[in-house]
Symmetry: C2
Subunit: 198 residues, 2 copies
DNA sequence: CGCATAATCCTAACTGTGTTAGGAAATCCT
DNA sequence: AGGATTTCCTAACACAGTTAGGATTATGCG
């Protein structure tokens, strides 16, 4: 069997359409917020009519699902692109890098951050499949902390809550500004100083 | 002038209707979430039809506005009901009480907490009037910290972000549980230890 | 008490949004 | 080329927020 070039062509075409639709949704979200991502608007952007989107996605939420998964995959990529050898950094420096990198990823695209971390879309709940990259990111982060002796779930819970709180506050109260960004290093110092490590 | 008892009667009747509508909205929210607060459902609960609600509220968002203001007023009351003489408590103890009280207020009614602190309703933005109790609560908290020498905005910002992050995480990931509740005292200790006080 | 006015409620209709169903057009495969 | 599959369209539906016009009820005044 030489394979099915035509089948690949079909799959690629299908994937291209889905990507085009998701990209249109991101564009709308960035312009007018997640709520403005209506099927009619998305369809118009890709030169279709709303019901035609159902050929490619099961529902409006399915589009958000794809966006959710993509956002988390982008974050993973983003973190890996800037990764440095964890073993050559102190825990403090690592967390300062990690917190700043994640913070900037979020504030650079508020609708994306909202989709990833907040519940701004009524009725939308990521499917287990879309949630996988999110879990992967969390798992990855957890593994990166092991060499530092940070292994307890509550330690990680506290860190993520702290960082999440700073990001949410920044996005909600000072969009485009740096009021909570300025607190990042201090927050990390506070956190690391409070760790009970062996 | 002896006043206008009939005018008061009218105002009271009007206020009673508004209260009944807002209460119906809270009931729906607690049962099925904020998104389920539709005008048709609210109206049905108070024995009306949806368009009739416009006699009492300018819009659906106006109902949310009233709910928002009420939630924050309730919080103020709640905090005052449990208030103890701040001057007789250490900062640490005060913040442990404050964080726990606020945390419990939030987790005891998730839709209320979401309305107060998150953006789960597309298009809803509290009016300055409704926002006033929220500002008052923040101002009040700020004043309570002064005797402890905590006066810098960034100190308060860090605390509220930390507490907000814990609450959001609890509500989103462990509703009804105590995974992040367990971290409260530790978080406060971490915070207080990291304060740079004179 | 009766009448006028204001308040309160209803119905019909409109616009917008997500979705379904049936069918036409385009593309792919043999 | 013909058949099957994919992709798109239109019409229609249900639901939600809202407006407009009118009916009903409550209030105020002489």
């Amino acid at each position: 069997m030489l394979g099915n070039p035509t089948r690949d062509r079909l799959a690629e075409r299908r994937e291209a359409s889905r990507r085009e639709i998701v990209n249109a949704a991101w564009s709308i979200a960035r312009e007018d917020g997640l709520a403005a991502v209506t099927l009619r608007e998305v369809a118009a952007r890709v030169g279709m009519r709303a019901p035609s989107l159902y050929t490619h996605f099961e529902s409006r939420n399915a589009i958000f699902d794809a966006m959710f998964a993509q956002a988390w995959r982008d974050l993973i990529e983003h973190m890996e692109a800037g990764i440095r050898e964890a073993s050559t950094m102190s825990l403090r420096d690592f967390l300062k890098w990690n917190s700043r990198t994640f913070f900037e990823f979020c504030v650079s695209d508020p609708p994306r951050a909202q989709l990833m971390n907040q519940r701004t879309i009524p009725g939308f709940e990521p499917t287990p499949e879309a949630y996988a990259p999110s879990l992967a990111a969390w798992q990855r982060f957890r593994e990166e902390l092991v060499p530092y002796g940070v292994t307890r779930t509550e330690d990680i819970d506290l860190y993520t809550a702290l960082l999440g709180g700073l990001i949410d506050a920044q996005l909600a109260n000072d969009p485009g500004g740096d009021r909570w960004e300025k607190l990042l290093d201090r927050a990390v110092d506070m956190y690391v100083d409070g760790l009970d490590l062996p």
